[in-house]
Symmetry: D4
Subunit: 176 residues, 8 copies
């Protein structure tokens, strides 16, 4: 029997939800159960720690954590739980996410956070799916179909560009 | 029966080996079979692609890829294989790894690379182990012991600092 | 007889087309045949490699490749084909093209990419024309006329500024 | 009666001690009791939280926290305790402390960390003393004497430079 | 009897007021008397120095100073007064506050400025309150209530997100 | 008799005029004759060089040169003429003027360019006036009046803020 | 008959020679005649311009120009000559070549410089060879052999790593 | 009769002297009287202000001010004196002078500082000489001779490189 995959998507603020939503959506499309939580490393630190302590026991296999600025949420959860933590640097106002990126990526030796691009909510979901797919054929198939659809989209656009030329293509893009 | 975990550690140049070695070592200590490869996205692109195409069939569950500068290796492997790819930005000469970090981390939607800190070879190994531990109790135990040993080291240093004070502590550090 | 010049303009996504269009247009104005392709290093890696392998055989003399973020397209094509590759870093959302610039420019010793400014689609086209003009007098003449027209535009603006003064000049600019 | 001032100087790793020592030393010179702790946000998170929870009860008035890289220690302590937390970004290897600076400084609204310069261990100590001096005349006097001595050092150097000239001054500096 | 807390909020330009206002407001809500001043280190340097010289005598316990660009105001006040100075880097036009951050944070050994995040007006107010709370129970209580309210806000949002799910939550956010 | 002051304000493109206009205006207000030129280091290099060669003979005492991106104009003029050159980095699209700043400021030993802030057209005019004022009392008086007016503006705003308070002040700002 | 290829390698200072030498060497190995010049955009501007004006007449097909800091040399030559110019940003002291990179890469629309990596002297040579190879079979063959040798070096190192393992490989590297 | 030129070279710390010495030396070689002062904006603020207030009365025509980190010295002097101020950003430890550059260059509208490159002590001296040369023929002649000598040095190196070739030239450089 395959493992029952379960992903927790946590965020420091509800303003991060918009960035993480594409990842939540893709996981659900892949049939993966997702739990979403607003847990601030700074405003609800003890709840955050409690969540991290129980994450494995509660059946989670992967945690996706998004945060901006001095983004401590992913690293703190990773310091407590033993399951893989994926960090999503949220684009911040003054520094455009460079601060979030440094705070999430530059973890010290011993406590890794699997960091994705600034604003990379979708990729966080896909990375979680890739990890879960190692022991779940259904997810592997979904991922394969997803890759194929990305591939086909590019192929179709390429075909269209060759057919109508760059001038017409641009005009159509501007209309949309 | 548990899955036979297997990690490929690939690098763009043998000068990257020093950075990746702590990750290779920890994986071996955890009893995880590791294959090391020098595969340059730029100098041996077809071999690199061939490796990526067959990675899953060859039994790998996770790829760790380290590269510096315009570090294309992790992203290109991730674009071909369906298994998780962990990227290690190698500290570069002029830009100190900022270029490597951008090239590995800022992947487009659809193709995630699980990026660790600049020079984060050890964390790449630990992240691979965390992923494999989802379906392997032995690795989970090893990780737990490893965390505990990190924890104990800090506790011991903390105790010592309180006992001898910062002046003496610094003197001892300088002697070592 | 002169060489039949031919330039391929490839991009990772159709959203890059707007940036590359001025280069496509200038090449066509110079009478140089252009082929435009959407080829994603990450979403259609095998098609991209296939394109690069056959680029020379297919008669291309120069490839212009635009990409944003972890912009692997120019470097990967350059690693496979022997013809010159011009890279155009596309302005990205969070990092404004600094990531694209690093990923394209910081290629390792052995595999050069001729990089132009962030968003420099026009200059990519002109650089391709300059390269082709080495063995094509017609293109050389077109380039010379183009330079002269740039030169004249500045001269005319300079004359006008002196005639009407900065106050009036600014007012006219705001009206347009 | 004045308050009994007490400062906790905590660090994520004993390698941070060298940076913090000037602050520890100046506090002791001012007659302020200091407790030094090695508490890693990532390796001993629960001890760190326990420390923060009890900091006020244990009689601390100010916490100085130094950390490097994804430096979560100052912000996490500040999220739990109500006493002022001073953060010291430690100069890191690849990013020279820019990562530490972002992780400590860019705290979200609601949870301030009083951040000093990268490597600013001495200033952290002085800032703690300034805060304590608000209700302690002895510390205020010590600070005043310290400022005066800094002032005098510069004055003396200025006098000397005027007396011997820049050539001789530089030669003496090189000898030392 | 407790100390009569008093905070001066100074700014280099009235365009900084918008950033500092949340800090002014929270201080007033906590019952702390605030004086606001526009004092430019560059346009009214002597008034600025005069203010700094008399700050302590005039009964201020903490100065909050906001400035943008070559933001000299916080550091210059800190060089003259002995009371703690909190610096607020204002987001600037071309460099988005990175210049302000460097100018305020990177003070030399001997003269600390307690720096908060770029645009961190609210946190400057809270940090001032934290400092004043060391000798004022009423402020300590207000801070505690404030923390609790932040905590509750996050808890309520977390509860709501779990109840209605991320799709509905996002829709509601967009409506507001 | 005093020197007849004359300033040349040159720019690489007429899109730079908006940034330089405040400097042109202030110079004219000070009674300083200004000549404005559009001279591109890249599109009209020979005219630019010709201008620089004759600048002194033509009676100019100071050149203000504004340019953006790979902003070569100020440095190239400074390499040819012996009169002082003031450089104005124009805010650029992708890099917000960081490229302009580096290209203008980082001149090699031997050929200085007096660089002002990104977008600092007004300060360029004032710096030119300061230089000319060394041998012109009228300009010195104008500068003194200008400083006084800046000073008074801040004083008046400070007075007003104290009178009406920050709430009302902000409301008035928003109305304007 | 094939074109007689000829490359000029110019530099702003003889301190840049070390960076450019690998490119000079590879061009000579490919049988391409190279002329090396020290021509400072700032110290010998008129000679630099004279060189650029006559470059094509003197039979050059490509110019490689290396410069550091406010690196104007490549862009200024490109603004005058019609042949392709390859720019090499030299690693600078304070900014590690970021200033050189911006000054060379960020050329305005109309005047492209084919920029290679910071310190990329070898790649500049190879890019020049690639351009010349478009009309020269001998160079094309040399490039092909060179690529093959790079490829073989990586293959051999990969084989060796697999044979002796990472521990032994690292030991051997340290001995060398 | 010409004006008696006089330059003040002030620095925030005697560690800045090494950077400023080339400027002091060149001014003396040009026969310009120089006064050197150590005046810290932060440690001796009142002396610094006193110096600035009297600078013009004391006969100075130009002030060169060097400072590192949160380098307030040049801007503060410029805010008080009406004579031109040249700022020299000193290379700092953690941020390599980027902080110094921002603090000196990014002055607000109304108070210009003529900024030179990071570490640009020599260029500060030359810029001062250029300014003074506007009303002093002797200095103008000295500057002209200096430019000529720079020019000749490059010409001689260029000649030598052509004579002995890059291999021999590099060998000679390494011996020296």
């Amino acid at each position: 029997m395959e493992l029952a995959p379960l992903v927790a998507v946590v965020m420091g603020s509800d303003s991060d939800l918009k960035t993480l939503q594409p990842g939540i959506k893709i996981l659900k499309e892949f049939g993966i159960e997702v739990e979403t939580r607003i847990l601030s490393a700074h405003r609800t630190p003890l709840e955050m720690i409690d969540f991290a302590k129980k994450a494995e026991l509660n059946g989670f296999h992967v945690v996706i954590a998004g945060a901006g600025g001095a983004a401590h949420l992913p690293g703190m959860i990773a310091s407590i739980t033993s399951i893989p933590v994926i960090g999503v640097p949220i684009q911040s106002q003054a520094l455009s996410g460079v601060d979030s990126m440094h705070s999430i990526l530059q973890m010290p030796p011993g406590i890794p956070v699997a960091t994705v691009a600034i604003g990379g909510g979708l990729n966080a979901g896909l990375l979680a799916a890739k990890i879960l797919s190692l022991s779940n054929k259904s997810i592997k198939n979904k991922l394969s179909q997803y890759s194929q659809s990305l591939h086909n989209q590019v192929r179709n656009k390429d075909t269209k560009l060759n057919q109508i030329g760059s001038d017409s293509y641009l005009k159509e893009m501007n209309i949309k």
